[in-house]
């Protein structure tokens, strides 16, 4: 006898195009507003400037590059360049794959603890934001501090290594190099590029071995020129704009290499990735800031995503088109302040390995688009975190040059810009609903990020790249 199951079974064998069409129909075709894949650009730059006090400076010569760092190569994503199945394609695919395997192997050899660094710094750098959007790049600051450790010694170096969680400079050197190479990616699909540079005062005799070490182990290109010279300053601005694709050009334009600067140490990170699952709808709604309401556009999607329900917050991961890499969005429960989440034990436990602690749920996600830049002077924060000596006259910069008496770290500026490519706002308060167990089909969570929230961008190796707090998505 023909049974309903027969139709159910026979339906299983219909054309794949019909199955695919039904997978996307409705959500995409009917409500689609967006016309293309949306991208997330995020960049950060750090500028540490050491200034001489009481040193004799003699006139110097013109600026020029004295040693160029050789950046790691990145094989292009084969599909972008060659016809699938061709010999060139096969070769490119093999090279691309081998590179990924090598990067994974490299990363597995590293014992640097970026997660602990994130936990040490997140509360210090993101609390008390006074209603402003704030962000920082843990990886960028970590790498800049590694270089700072290289040019210091004694107590100055010890304090830095303590914060970085590293026992000695030799092992750190090797590991930073591996960290660098395992993350560097520019294959046309997923971009994570890092760059360092040193801007040296031409009137100071720097120790060549230290500069060589920084160039080789930390990929830092070295430039030497006349401090205070506009041309030299412009060369630094051009370098920064090049590494950050011009996204921080307003802040870059305000940078000056003053005549009494001994050395400027610069580190940048540029990141760009696309969502695996795109947002399909956007609506004008309301976002509730600490001081009132703002109107903005929310982007929406419904997918099975990693979700974690903490004691005081909910978290969801929006994945990028690169295995493991994603943006964690963390929403404090209603009535819970961001500051109390940032010092919450459960939150720190969660930060250690967010994915491992989460489960897959169907998530109805509403997220406001944001695009903001923020500039932070890290000096006070680093002092609070135990790095004090380098800011004083007692700082030990002996690896840098013969006579370094009186040199101290004058300022350490950190600039970040981060954007997700859709706008958002919300008209109603968020609700969190989840169902457990076997009973309902709708094991679903509804998350509306219509109040201040925290975000964390992680790399393909789950390294924390950017962390921040969005208090007002309309503020730039």
């Amino acid at each position: 006898m023909m049974k309903p199951e027969d139709i159910q079974n026979a339906l299983g064998d219909i054309g794949e195009d019909l199955i695919e069409e039904a997978a996307n129909f409705g959500n995409v075709t009917k409500k689609r507003v967006l016309s293309k894949w949306k991208w997330i650009p995020a960049i950060a730059a750090i500028l540490a400037v050491a200034i001489a006090v009481g040193m004799f400076l003699s006139p110097g010569e013109k600026t020029f590059l004295i040693s160029a760092a050789q950046y790691p190569s990145a094989s292009p994503y084969p599909h972008l360049q060659y016809k699938w199945g061709s010999e060139e394609y096969k070769q490119a695919a093999l090279a691309w794959k081998e590179e990924r395997v090598e990067k994974k192997r490299l990363f597995e050899s590293i014992s640097l603890d970026l997660d602990s660094f994130l936990q040490s710094t997140v509360q210090e750098l993101l609390s008390n934001t006074n209603g402003k959007n704030t962000a920082y790049s843990p990886l960028n600051i970590y790498l800049a501090l590694c270089m700072t450790a290289e040019i210091t010694d004694g107590k100055s170096r010890e304090e830095i290594l303590d914060l970085l969680g590293v026992a000695d400079i030799e092992s750190m050197r090797e590991q930073v190099n591996a960290l660098w190479r395992s993350h560097y990616s520019n294959d046309g699909i997923y971009t994570l590029t890092l760059a360092n540079s040193l801007w040296l005062n031409e009137n100071v005799k720097f120790r060549k071995e230290t500069i060589k070490q920084l160039t080789e182990s930390y990929f830092a290109s070295a430039f030497q020129g006349e401090m205070g010279n506009e041309e030299y300053t412009q060369a630094l601005r051009n370098w920064l704009n090049e590494q950050t694709n011009g996204l921080l050009n307003n802040d870059v334009d305000s940078i000056h290499l003053d005549p009494d600067t001994i050395l400027a140490l610069v580190s940048t990170i540029y990141f760009q990735a696309k969502w695996v699952n795109k947002f399909y709808e956007k609506n004008n709604e309301t976002f509730y800031t600490a001081n009132g309401e703002v109107s903005c556009i929310f982007m929406k999607r419904n997918h099975h995503d990693y979700y974690y329900c903490g004691e005081n917050f909910s978290a969801v991961k929006c994945e990028f088109d690169q295995i493991n890499s994603g943006m964690w969005l963390i929403l404090p429960d209603e009535g819970v302040a961001m500051e109390s989440v940032l010092c919450d034990e459960d939150f720190h436990r969660f930060l250690k390995d967010p994915t491992a602690q989460s489960s897959i749920y169907e998530v109805d996600l509403s997220l406001p688009m944001f695009d903001f830049a923020c500039k932070t002077d890290l000096s006070e924060s680093l002092k609070n975190l135990g790095i004090e000596s380098v800011f004083t006259e007692k700082a030990d910069f002996s690896p840098l040059a013969k006579n370094t008496e009186g040199i101290s770290l004058n300022k350490i500026e950190h600039n970040v810009r981060i954007a997700i490519d859709e706008e958002g706002c919300t008209a109603t308060a968020y609700t969190v609903e989840y169902y457990e167990g076997m009973a309902p089909i709708d094991e679903k969570v509804t998350l509306k990020f219509d109040r201040p929230f925290f975000f964390l961008v992680t790399s393909q190796h789950n390294t924390p790249l950017f962390a921040g707090v969005v208090n007002d998505p309309t503020a730039s």
């Binding site: 006898m1 159910q8 199955i19 997978a23 699938w84 089909i441 094991e443």
Partner: protein, 185 residues
């Protein structure tokens, strides 16, 4: 990673294929399995079995659409597991509800003789679905291929539940006429 690259990995017998498939399609397959099984552990097992099945059949098979190919495997595995577990009991579940609804297309005395007839039925359903207006076709497939609840379909298509029920009712009626016309019932 693009589907074509993942398929290449399968053809090269590279276990990275499983990882890339998992990365891209785990949630899609899980959502299908969960709709059928309504149980997290069972759904996860079915998704894992999907990867293994894909590994065993690619090659020689070459999927035109990897998502549909994997979705089909997950659906078949999930239905089998569901039927094995629920032979003795019936309840208010989408799979069973959808069966009851599909029963409207078949008179009680009819039978499918063999595998050949099953294939003919698949071909007929394929043709039948292609003749439907896109919206009607996809509402039908969301209900009977993906086992979405009526409420979800209504939300997805931006209609009320009663309209969706009416659309499904009409499509089932058309299917009944088609089966009759082809002398399959």
């Amino acid at each position: 990673m693009e589907d074509s690259n993942i398929i290449t990995l399968f053809f090269n017998r590279d276990e990275q294929a499983i990882l890339e498939t998992q990365k891209k399609y785990e949630k899609y397959c899980y959502s299908i399995a969960y709709r059928v099984l309504n149980n997290r552990e069972d759904a996860e097992e079915c998704v894992n079995d999907t990867y293994l099945t894909a590994w065993n059949v690619i090659p020689p098979q070459f999927p035109k659409s990897l998502s549909a190919f994997l979705g089909r495997i997950t659906r078949n595995l999930s239905l089998k597991r569901y039927r094995d577990a629920h032979r003795q009991k019936r309840g208010e579940h989408t799979v069973l509800l959808s069966l009851d609804e599909l029963a409207e297309c078949i008179p009680a005395s009819q039978t499918l003789q063999n595998e050949m007839q099953q294939k003919e039925l698949s071909a007929l359903l394929d043709t039948f679905l292609r003749m439907l207006p896109p919206e009607e076709r996809n509402v039908f497939l969301r209900r009977y291929w993906y086992f979405d609840p009526i409420s979800e379909i209504a939300k997805r298509f931006g209609y009320g539940e009663s309209k969706i029920k009416m659309m499904l009712f009409r499509t089932r009626k058309k299917l009944y006429e088609k089966l009759k016309q082809e002398e399959l019932i």
